[in-house]
Structure formats: C-alpha cells, structure tokens
Point group: C2
C-alpha cells in the first residue's frame, strides 16, 4: 500500500506548496457542472435509497440500531435511517485496539490512504449534496460545494499540513559533541507520537465541512477518531466515515480507526464520550454554552469553533449599490445560518461617504433594507439563496427577535419553494438600534437576523466592532472605507481582537467565504474558537515529538 | 537598527539550520576556559559588587525598593540586594504602553535586538555564574554552563524557531479565483499577531536556564514580558532583564518591553499578576500544586514545566561498572536538584545480565550503592559534583525520606566544602523498596533521593515506569538493555507516556543533559509539563495568524 502514497504524491506536493504560498488552489472544482451531467439525478436517487432503512455501509461492532431523528428541512419528513448503534465502551475499545497499528503505519501510509479516500469521495459529491440538503437545509448548490469540493479541500489541507509537520525533523541523526580529545556520539531518533483517541463533534448546519478537518488531521497523525455527528445531521458524515473505513480495510487496517457514534436528541452521547479519560482530543463545532462545558473538562486537547458576532463597518464607499448588494447576499445566503455571516452593521449617524457625496444615515439603512428585500423577493434568486432553516429553534429566534427592543426595519416572513412547498423558511429580519443598546446586539443571533447599529462616528463603529469581537468572538469582519487612515485603524483594532478584515468586497466574493489553502477559517485568537483551519497548531497539538537517544559505542 | 539583524543574520541562519537538523550546534562553548583566563575572578568581583546595595541596572517606574530574601546556599548569608519595586498595575500599564511599538517593530528588528542581547550577555557569563551559584546552590562549573552558554543556546533556539514560524507565510499574496469568464482577485496580507502580555515565573534552582526560553520566545513574536523570579533567585535573571532593557532602549524602544517583578517569600506577587486579565500568557517552572492552580485560571495560554518522576530501567548491560558510574553521577549531580535527574531505579528481582553472566539483584543494588558512595566520598570530585542545597525544604525532604518506609541502603549526610564551610549540603540517600509499594515512589522526591524498586521482571519495570510517567509525569528515562526486543518494548511503552528514552548511556554523557537545537526539553505530552523547549507549539501558541483581504478592483 505504499503505492497509495506514490499514487497521490504529486497532489500532496501541490497542496503543500499552496499551503505555504496561500495562493488559490483547489484540486476539486466547486461547481457541480464540472462533475458530470447526470450527477444531480443520480445523487438524488442514491440519497433516496438511504431513506427508511438500515445504513449498512458502516462497520458495526454489535447488533444495536438507532433510528435517527434526522428530518429534512425541505420536506419536514423524517429520513427514517437506522444506523448501527454501539456503546461508548465498545467504541473506545475498538479505537484503542486499532491505535497501535495505525500509529505504526507511518506518515506516508496514512497520508496515501487519506488522499485515496478523498479521491473516492469525489464520486459521491452529488449524493453527499442531497444528504446535506436534507439534513442541514442548505440549497443544492451550497450543499454540493460545502460538503463536496470545499470540504475535501479543507480535508486535503489538513492532510498536507500534517504531512509537513510530521516531516519537520529528521527521523535519525548522528549527534557528535566535541569534548576536546574525543567526541561523544549519540544516535538520535525523532518521532511524532499521536496523542490518542480523538472525538469529533459535528454540527447540524455544516455536517461535513466542519468535521472533516478534525477527522483527517487526527487520522493523518495517527490518532483514531470517534465521530459524534449532530443528531439532526448524521447521514452526510456517515457516508464519509464509511468511505474511510472501506479504504482502511482494503489497506489491511481494521477500519475502526474511525467510527461513527450516532445518537438521538433525547439520549445524547456526547458528554459520556467527551468525559471518558481515554478520549484525549476533542474537536467541537457548535454553540458557546456547550463549548464552555467542554473547556471545563480536564486533560483534553480541545479544538473549538463556537459562535461569533461578526461586524460590518461602513465608513465610505465608491459605489454604495454594489456594496449593499454584496452585503445583502452575505446576510441572506443560507438564511444567515453560517458562522461567518455578518450580523451587526455599524453605520455612523452622520451617514457614509460615496465618492464626494455624503449619504445620510437613514438613506443608507433604507437602501440596505431595499437591497435585502430585492434579493428576498427576486423570484429566481431569492428562495435558492435563502434555502431552508435547519431547525425550529432558528425559526423561533427570528420571531423572538421582534421583541428584542429594536426597531424592525424589515420583517421576516416565510416564503415558498416551488419544489418543496413544505420547507421551513424565513426571510431575514433587519433590526435597527443605537450603539448604547449593546445588550441587544452583543450576542450571536444565529439565523437570518441582522442589526443596524447607529454609531456616533466610524471611530465608535471600530471600537464597538473590536470590543465585541474580543469579548464575544468573531469569525469575520467586513469593512468598507476609501480612507487609508481609517483602513489602517480598522485593521489594527480588529487585530487586537484577532479578526481578519475583508475590505471593500463587492461582486462575486463575500465575507462569509473562506478559501482553503489561503484563508484561515477562525483565527483561534478570540472567543469564537481556539482552532484555526488549518494552521500548524491545528496539527501539532494532536501529536508529541519524542526524541530517543542511543550511545554510539 | 535594521543593521542588528544584518549583523547577526549569519548566526541566525546557522541556528535555524541546526534546529531543523537536530544536529550538534552551539555558538557558545560550554567550558569557561574558552571565555578568558581572568573571568572567574572578575565575575566574582562583579557579583560581589551587587551585594548589600541597590540593583541599579534596571529601569524603575517608581521609587519603591524591595530588599530581597536571596541567601547564598554556599555561605548562608543574605545577599541584601535591593531591587526596584513596582506595583502590578504599573508593570502592566508600562507593558501595555510598550506593546504597540514592539508589535510594529517587525520580525527582523525584534530578532536582531534579541541576538544582540545574547552577544552582550556573553561578556557577563562569569558574573552570571557567580550570581547563579549564590542563589541556586549550583557549583561554579554548572552555574557557568547552565546560566551562561546553555541558557543562551536555549534563548537563541527560541529566537530562531520564532523567526522560522513568523516567516512561515508570505506577507502579501495576490489570490485569483477563476470564475469562468473572469477572475475574482484579492490582495491578501498575512500577519502573525502577538497575543499580549506574557508573565514568566522562574524557579530557584535554574533561575536563568528555565526562564530565558519563555522570555525570548515572547519578545521574539512581539509580546511584552513581566519576569517574576523566584524570591530566592532574583539576581541572575535581573541581570538578563537589565541587558534586554539596555539594548531595547539603545534601539529606540521604551525598555518596558521586559520588566522585572521581584517579590518576597512573605508577600508573593505571582497570583496577583497571573490572575490579571491583561496577562494573556504564562510561562511557569515550578512545583505541581502551583502549576495546577495556574492551569485552573481561565483564558490564559499556559506553558508549564512542573515535576516528574524519572525512571531508570535496568535490564542487561555490557559493562555494569560503567553503567553504575554513569548513573551515580546522574543522581549525585547538583544533589539531584535537576528536574531531569533519575529517581526510581527499576531492577528485576532475578538480577540483570552483564554479557553472559547474571548479576544477582542484591549485588546490583550493592554496586549501585558503592558507586554513589565512591563519588560522594571522592575528595576531588564529590563536593563539587553535589554542590549545595538551594533550600532548607530540600534538606528536610532528605531527612523525612528515612521515614518513608523504605529500606535505607545509603544514608545521606552533610559534607564539607573547603571553600564554603557553612554550605547547606547533603549527599544522596538511596532507598530500596518493592514494586508493590508504589505510594512510596510514585511522587517526585525532589533533591538527592533515589529509590531502588525491586520488580518481578523487566516487563514489570517497563510497565511501572510507563504508568508512573503517564500519571505523574517524567522528563527523562534512562534504560539499559542489550536485547533489541526489550529495547523496542521500552521505547514503545515510554512513548505511550510521551517520554524519550536515553539508552545505554555511559561515559561523559548523562540522562540529565539535554542539548539545545537537538534534544527537546520536556515532551509536553505528560503531566511533567505541557511545554517543550523549543518546538513549534512553543512559538505558535504565543501568536495568532491573521489574514486580511482587499478586493482588487
């Protein structure tokens, strides 16, 4: 099986190079048209065949079954899939039993296997897209990109970074210390030793994209993985785990190097697994309160992506219409159910400059409202952009936001998808408030909720954006200014809160997007999360460099 | 001042190369004879001039003074030095005020300044040696090496690793995404942003060696540092801080980028500083219980070196005499007051093989006893090797060890240094017990205390060594075996506990020693500490990579 490494070495080297250069790179074209004409239909069919029956592609140590709580946000029908149900103890025993051979397999073997898995997953992008649609509520196009090419990009990025880090030091070195009349000589060996069993806790809105980096990073350095998906979004990542197990078994490994631990809403498994002393590493995507509980567990290496309150700073623009169209899309896309979506729009009460003109504050707000409304009501673009709401909780949050005390500038409403008349939907709500009402916009309002915050001036906008990010976390910051001094001030202030800034985006690039191999997803430096996709820490904290020494006699 | 970088660039490049290759490297010869003939006397004189007067080389924001509790373990006289005393609030304000310019100075400027400081410190190695002797109790030779060349090696290693990590990604990149008919282009900038104010908490036995890596790593990436030395060992690191401040000021910086926070035994400052929200990073060397307290503090990036229970596994040897001489020295050196000194000697009850012969267990123990006794009683080598005990607490521990319940094979006793008749001294005590008495040898017995543990066989020795290391931590493991299968088993078992093994050391190399640029000091993977001198994590956890994006229009 060393041949799997040779087979994929060129791809690996390209990925490693891109990682260092941070330039544009993807081996997986993002648009589905590149992946075959009949893909959509075939993927839909393959997805449909999973419904209301046992999911048999996974290894199962036991005979238990779990009927999942998964429900399509598009049809509101239960998927009725029955997954193998294995006790935590058995999962941990199997992981432990698999760990030694996987550790000893070595870097090249593991790397080759993992890239082979990504090559196999390519053939199931359409099926993954449908599975993701009907668990997360994403549109087909987003589901295809997020769980297909973009997720595979991030997984490959993790594998490449792990390859680089594990080859950082020579395996052996002859060390000779001159002692005057003679030398003392030692033969030293350096080994990156995996830390132990990793638990990867998935989320419901991006069940593949947010989980594969942790899964692939752990496996790449030799840690066995237990994948605990969100009870509402199991199928997409179950497919990934099944592909991993298959290739691992073909390569002569047990397959238990990665296992699925599905659970139900009313009988969650996560705490039991997370608290078990055998679990050494935890990757977590989800809400802040459960994240804080995980942070309280002793002796765990924890990688988190929790929540953030992402600011938009509006100061001055060249073309207000282009700016507001870009922001309207960023807010509306997947009904704001992206951790990178903007929430708080800081606009000075004196208005903003467009070229030489000053656009009064009220006019900016009105134009923002119109931009969002225009997209929402666009019969061709609107529904597909907004897609469906993953959970009733998000729908409730939208309704409750009316009572937060802010002025409702644009009211949310349900809308109809022609193909899915029963879909759970909501257009965005746009609220408006004052800088002094910080309690109102301080926390994350996950879903299609945006808040215009009227500030004294841009300096107050910057101050609030930076302070909130430092206190509550932020994953992104969009800023619009044509003034180099203001630009510098924004960059410095947001660096204080460890948030990268996207300046003056218009057209076909949005603040929500982060490109693998180039953009870090989450900086790791503020309360939004301590992990960054994919930097050196993301790998190095999963392993320990051990040096052994032997006297040369 | 960019010229400081040019001035030292060749040295930096050598250091970076050695770091990657893990080969022998030192720009600072370890033996004092390389550093001038009159050095000893001049250093002693310079040290003496510090006594019983104010230490005036440091910047002082205020007029307060603190008379230190430092007492020479060699003379039992107080040093009577008065250090500038500054409140925690003022220290933190000064650090904050200095932080912006230091961050903006950039990597090359910071790197050049820090290497310049190391070049200046070279001229004070002898003075540092005397200051270290008379605070730690080390012998002159160890004090010279540990606070001089070896500490500077580790500091340079940190600076080199920080240089490499901060240059990992390009500063700017044009990112172009093909969109079919057109490209989306972004100009991206990548910046390693320092995390904030760092607190470095020193220890009494290695006041310079254990503190400079954290100090230099923080400064190298742009974090201001507050150095809180052990109240019993301030002078050596005060000298280092003074040299840093001097070069920083010459280079146009405030000098407050690094500050000393001395305190007294009865009015410790450490908690106040550590708990302050402005302190983002903590480097700590010291006991486990205070380390656990620090681990409990929220929102700190913590680097620890706590304590370890270092095992010796004796299975089979070529030359028992050479082995026991090596181990006797490792145990006796600086009276066991090294975190890397061996403590537990696991010896099978069936004895060990020497070539074709089996040496009975009792004989091995007796020979070990004799080896230690031989060194202790050696009039020329003994006293200098053992040096002095830093604290009365260590002396008490030696006495108390008689009552642990183990057989006392070799009793500790005070001994006399001809030049320092009042020195606080103790020869090592050698205890003997059974594998079943694990409570007795499970914890660190810091100081000149070694324990022979009789095991069923080598497999039990390995199991105990590995389990104790996993549970209590270990920094080193010495193993002696001529059997390749046993060697493999030891390596695997100790890797489970994340401890590197030194195999079959005899002659002029000891398990206690770790060479900068080649050996990692502490693996970071077991309870002995989470930091490793100096791996990538040691740098990367001190900064955050931030990417900004600008649309190319």
């Amino acid at each position: 099986m060393a041949s799997l490494f040779s087979k994929h070495e060129a791809l690996l080297q390209e990925a490693c190079k891109a990682l260092g250069e941070r330039s544009f790179y993807t081996p997986y074209p993002e648009h589905h048209s590149a992946w075959g004409e009949n893909g959509y239909k075939e993927g839909e069919k393959a997805f449909t065949q999973h419904l209301n029956r046992p999911f048999e592609d996974l290894m199962a140590s036991g005979k238990g079954q779990l009927t999942s709580d998964e429900q399509s946000p598009w049809t509101l029908e239960n998927l009725g899939i029955r997954y193998p149900k294995v006790s935590s103890d058995t999962l941990l025993e199997e992981a432990k039993a698999a760990s030694k051979a996987w550790k000893q397999a070595g870097v090249e073997m593991r790397t080759g296997i993992l890239i082979e898995v990504l090559e196999r997953i390519k053939g199931r992008f359409f099926e993954l897209a449908h599975a993701t649609m009907h668990t997360s509520g994403q549109s087909f196009m987003m589901a295809f990109q997020a769980s297909g090419p973009h997720a595979s990009d991030r997984a490959l990025e993790a594998v490449a970074q792990a390859f680089l880090e594990q080859n950082r030091y020579p395996e052996t070195v002859r060390w000779e210390k001159p002692m005057g009349k003679f030398n003392v000589a030692l033969d030293k060996t350096f080994r990156p030793v995996p830390k132990g069993i990793g638990l990867v806790i998935g989320c419901s809105t991006f069940p593949v994209w947010n989980s594969v980096p942790g899964i692939f990073a752990n496996l790449a350095v030799g840690n066995p993985v237990i994948v605990k998906p969100h009870p509402g979004a199991i199928l997409p990542i179950a497919m990934v785990v099944a592909e991993l197990q298959k290739v691992l078994q073909e390569a002569g490994f047990s397959g238990h190097e990665v296992q699925l631990a599905p659970d139900n809403f009313d009988a969650p498994l996560t705490r039991e697994l997370a608290e078990h002393p055998a679990v050494k590493l935890i990757d977590y995507t989800g809400g802040t309160s459960f994240g804080k509980y995980l942070e309280s567990l002793p002796n765990k290496v924890l990688f988190t992506e929790k929540s953030g309150v992402n600011p938009v700073i509006l100061d001055s623009v060249d073309d207000l219409k282009a700016v507001l169209q870009n922001l309207a899309f960023a807010v509306t896309l997947f009904s704001g159910q992206m951790c990178t979506a903007p929430q708080n729009f800081f606009i000075p009460k004196g208005g903003i400059k467009e070229g030489d003109q000053t656009i009064p504050y009220q006019e900016v707000v009105e134009k923002l409202r119109k931009s969002i409304e225009g997209l929402v009501k666009h019969p061709k673009l609107g529904p597909g952009t907004m897609a469906a709401l993953q959970s009733n909780r998000t729908l409730d949050r939208v309704k409750e936001s009316n009572a937060l005390g802010a002025k409702v500038v644009l009211e949310a409403h349900a809308f109809r998808h022609s193909d899915y008349p029963k879909a759970r939907t909501s257009s965005p709500t746009l609220l408006e408030t004052q800088a002094s009402e910080v309690d109102l916009f301080e926390s994350e309002l996950f879903g299609p909720i945006a808040v215009v915050v009227q500030t004294r001036d841009t300096h107050q906008s910057i101050e609030l954006a930076s302070q909130l990010a430092a206190r509550q976390g932020a994953l992104t910051c969009a800023a619009y200014t044509t003034d180099p001094d203001i630009e510098r001030a924004i960059q410095e202030a947001m660096e204080e809160a460890f948030v990268g800034v996207s300046f003056n985006l218009t057209g076909y690039i949005w603040v929500n997007q982060a490109a693998a191999f180039s953009d870090f997803h989450v900086s790791g430096g503020n309360p939004a999360g301590n992990a960054s996709f994919v930097n050196a820490d993301y790998i190095n904290r999963r392993m320990v460099w051990i040096g052994h020494r032997r006297l040369v006699s």
